[in-house]
Symmetry: D2
Subunit: 353 residues, 4 copies
């Protein structure tokens, strides 16, 4: 299989570091550049002793990010940058012919108007929005193969969209009234020197944030609306919990079909089961839990897997779906590598098992 040269812009944050780890061990990708303003000149081994056993860690040095230079070095460039900064690099890299896999929120929306509503400023490169593909492989595999610009989904969105899209597409749940209650590990906040994310501020603590209009809402809403074929307004509450990695999302849903008798419940359960099996039985990175098992973030930490389980509640008439993922892997860097594999025609699981 033909090897491709890849680069990471913003390689010293948590998702950048996870990308480094995945790409150092990738069988077909060759990591040729890592950038970080703060660490320019240092080797990978100096900044991340954990990579020091890899031969490349002694020679690969962080550089200042420079689109022109990167475009000469790499075929494919990952952008692991803060929202708003990624677009600046995407434009010249695309112009120079690189494929760009962007882990920020900059190209996840199709609508520049929605972008402005939620981010309070004009989109810096609105002409690219139509070209960008939402990098959720389970639903955009073909588009990922063909596009030059992949907007890799956010961590919370992934944990919400994977359980919901099949149900909405099949018309099994009502598109309105959806509630997503999520808990995330602290790495989701990034490697930023802020008091709020100090060990002593997070340990022995649980808190909600962004209530009632947290980030990621527009991205989730747009994708759900596309799946439902109608505008979906979701209630989403993120919580910060004291784990390094992992997102657990509990979804409260209203089935389109009422179920009051046991027979109705059984019939509905079979439909849901079939719907999920059809969507995910052949997917390498979605794990449908059977029996009494419920998702647990510790079972997906360090993997690119999203676990899903569901229960019907005859008392309330609701369907409850729960998902678990590693926010840095399936929620960020692993999913980006999954898109890389698809885009390059490599086995989709390359470097991810």
């Amino acid at each position: 299989m033909k090897t491709k040269k890849v680069a990471i812009v913003g390689a010293s944050g948590y998702s950048g570091e996870e990308l480094v780890k995945l790409l150092l061990h990738h069988p077909h990708a060759e990591l040729v550049a890592v950038t970080s303003r703060a660490n320019a000149g240092q080797t990978l081994a100096q900044i991340f002793p954990k990579f020091a056993s890899h031969p490349k860690s002694k020679t690969l040095r962080f550089t200042d990010p420079n689109a022109k230079v990167l475009a000469k070095q790499a075929d494919i460039v990952f952008l692991a940058l803060p929202h708003g900064v990624a677009a600046e690099f995407a434009v010249p890299l695309l112009a120079a012919g690189c494929t760009v896999i962007d882990l920020s929120a900059d190209f996840r929306l199709r609508s520049a108007a929605t972008y402005k509503e939620f981010y309070a400023h004009d989109h810096p490169a609105p002409e690219l929005l139509a070209k960008a593909v939402y990098g959720l492989p389970e639903f955009y595999r073909d588009e990922i193969r063909k596009t030059q610009l992949i907007a890799s989904p956010g961590c919370y969105p992934t944990s919400i969209l994977l359980p919901l899209i099949p149900l909405l597409k099949a018309g099994l749940i009502k598109p309105d009234g959806i509630i997503a209650d999520s808990m995330s590990g602290v790495s989701g906040a990034g490697r930023k020197a802020e008091v709020d994310y100090l060990f002593c501020e997070c340990n022995e603590s649980v808190r909600a944030y962004g209530v009632p209009k947290p980030g990621h809402l527009s991205e989730i809403g747009e994708q759900l609306s596309l799946a439902a074929g109608t505008k979906v307004v979701i209630q989403f509450t993120p919580h910060l919990i004291p784990v390094n990695r992992g997102i657990l999302t509990t979804l409260y849903l209203a089935p389109t079909k009422h179920f009051t008798t046991a027979a109705e419940a059984t019939a509905l359960a079979e439909k849901i089961s079939a719907c999920y099996a059809k969507a995910y039985a052949a997917e390498p990175f979605v794990r449908l839990l059977g029996g009494k098992a419920l998702p647990d973030t510790k079972n997906v930490t360090g993997t690119n897997v999203c676990e899903i389980a569901w229960r019907l509640d005859p008392r309330t008439g609701r369907l409850i779906v729960i998902s678990a993922e590693d926010n840095l892997v399936k929620g960020a860097s692993g999913q980006a590598v999954q898109s890389l594999n698809i885009h390059c025609g490599w086995p989709e699981t390359a470097g991810l098992l």
Copy 2:
């Protein structure tokens, strides 16, 4: 103020230990007996080195639990026993004239039928259900003063009822469709030697449990129904998170009055604000958060306080209310001592500040 003699049956679990701590330092209660089958004969200091600096820890020894003996020693007996076991002790203690403050679920329901539905066996002492008072001081203060049997509320129920009862009583929210999403620290599972609660099974892990019909549902439903004046069927999902102590509950509610314009939202917000202020402004152990603050379990750990904050979401038309408490204090032992204070005519905050 007249001192009372108090005893704790089941003093070696987490809520029993917390009761010991509170009662050793209580200005008006004298701790005269602590029972524990496993530790009988040992002093408090031997089992709990943390209490060893207290003079009484060297002389007070755990005994085998014996209702007759306890009835002679103590005026008031706390039962910190597993559900189902507490009733056995309550009957003879009440007959002997003791006041009983029960921290188990045995006497929290008014209806023996509901008890049977949820616990799958007949209630062991149904004649006591009518006498028992639900020990939520903010709403049953007078009854707590007069009763001989206080059924101290569960940890999850407290975190759900305190935010909901005022809204339901004021008719500000619809009684149906309520969703409570809770996260609890591991001490809620008790000091039980089970693999599921080992450090390595809980650390770096988040998981839901009991979906869709967890324990505590009947207790919550009954109290909400009493407040609403109509049957309330609640959706409640507990999650286990890696902290020792603390429960955070996020509630998704539908206001009775729609709000679509800014003026409507402001009017509704004022009503909610007034409703909570009326209910809790004078309460020593409910803290209404103003401004941008949201509840955080670390701000209530080790205290008898329940924090509450709320937000209206004009996008979805919902009211979101969030509460935080220490599951072992306001959710168990602190609240039981609060009831003790009320029952004995002591200042309600005695030993709790």
Copy 3:
């Protein structure tokens, strides 16, 4: 008992916050001022919701630190400032007649030369070093009563000095070759926005730091030398572990008397036991563990107690002593309040039980 007015300079760090907590509930001290450049103008309740249930939290506002103003407001001023900054405030406050209790390292050394050796610059107020008293109540009680300037000990030093001083004074251990291996919770690093102390950098991590010449060495060495009557050079290695609070110190010591037979070991054990009992049996905040118990930080968290246990090892001829304390209480703010109590002639345990 006569109340005193107290102020805290630097009240928004972890030890400042702990001082606020202790002094808000102190029976004889009245907290009249809290300073914090970053939070000036805000009330205690706004910055620390956890204190919002205290009536004073709504009226007491953070101010910019100003020695002149503070000197008019308070009889006694606590300095919870970074090392090097405290001296600037101490000089004018002392001149204005205040008593100063300094939690920084600025006045802990008697020798300006040692200060310069370890801190690499001249001491800013060397004339005060002779006046300052090392605020370790168990050994400087009389001096604390009389002085105007109390240099409250560091967290690591307290955990090392309390176990060692009695043994050195009694000549039971050799003054050379002492090794102290300590583990500290992350609050010891302060509430500083640094990447090293982010949740994800500390959780699931253990590391040594400052090897082989960490901070606090000079302070420990000077106090041990005073106790031994000869210069003591100690080996001390601090480690950072993922807990909020707590220091555990394991000490490796050589008894002056060899013990090879069982009888010799018994005789030595009796001497050590008697030595510790003489030093600490009447001390309210040192807990000697008997039987098989070993110190555990969770048994001292939130208290002003230092736990101590020891074992003789006949295989190696060593004495191993282990101590545990809460670094923010006995290791910082609790100990400072203990000194306050002594200095003011109040019961030594006032506000600390």
Copy 4:
């Protein structure tokens, strides 16, 4: 390369589970049997949802352990059993011609007398002690290749022996007076339902245990004595800290050569540096840290790497060496797979990168 069939006896504990993970993904080993009395009949996927994405997890079922059956199924059998139980299985498996890689302490000592001294009963199969090879690949590579019985080292011993053996062999440190102070994550205690290892007993807690004569001492002492050519009596104190995985060991050592001048220190440092480089520069799983870096367990978690750094302390004349490893990987299952690779003539890093 020829594939071998491997089995794991005791596959449901923490090191058993880690072995399953490593062997499921091993390129040359085929996992044919996993035993567990408690889980017999269940598939891997049912007991460990985290393995459910692996095709074999649906078909491979836990069985009751039976040496005869295992001997027919597997070429090589791993024993991940409690100490004392492993020997029972080793005897018949060896007799049947299997290679046995034992992760327990049963065959780690060469001397049956030492075994009896430390374990207080006769060794169950003393005739095998002479045949067993201590499975520390860095020092017993040739023997591992040839033996039928590999006694894989303990987690603490590995973290102590890797830093010490080269120094002792080179005569750079004195063999007496060695102190090893270790901190371990809770998985080291195994997946046992004991109150001491509950989340709430370990979280926010640090404690020493086994003082002054913990387990593993005999194993460490024997190996150090072999390296030094003289009897080595070590002081070793293990501590339990709230992490899942990881051991950090800090060693206090006396160089044989005094160093008082800067030139002497430099000369000694060069010797130590050369000694470690000679021992480990070519080793894939020992990482010598240079510059200012110190070991951190988070940099080795999930890997088979042991990190080592050292410092000379001119103040005390000591050499301090610090090591970090994952107790379940290099300290247990990873090291056992490393031995498997060597024994089978596969690349030593197969399945471990």
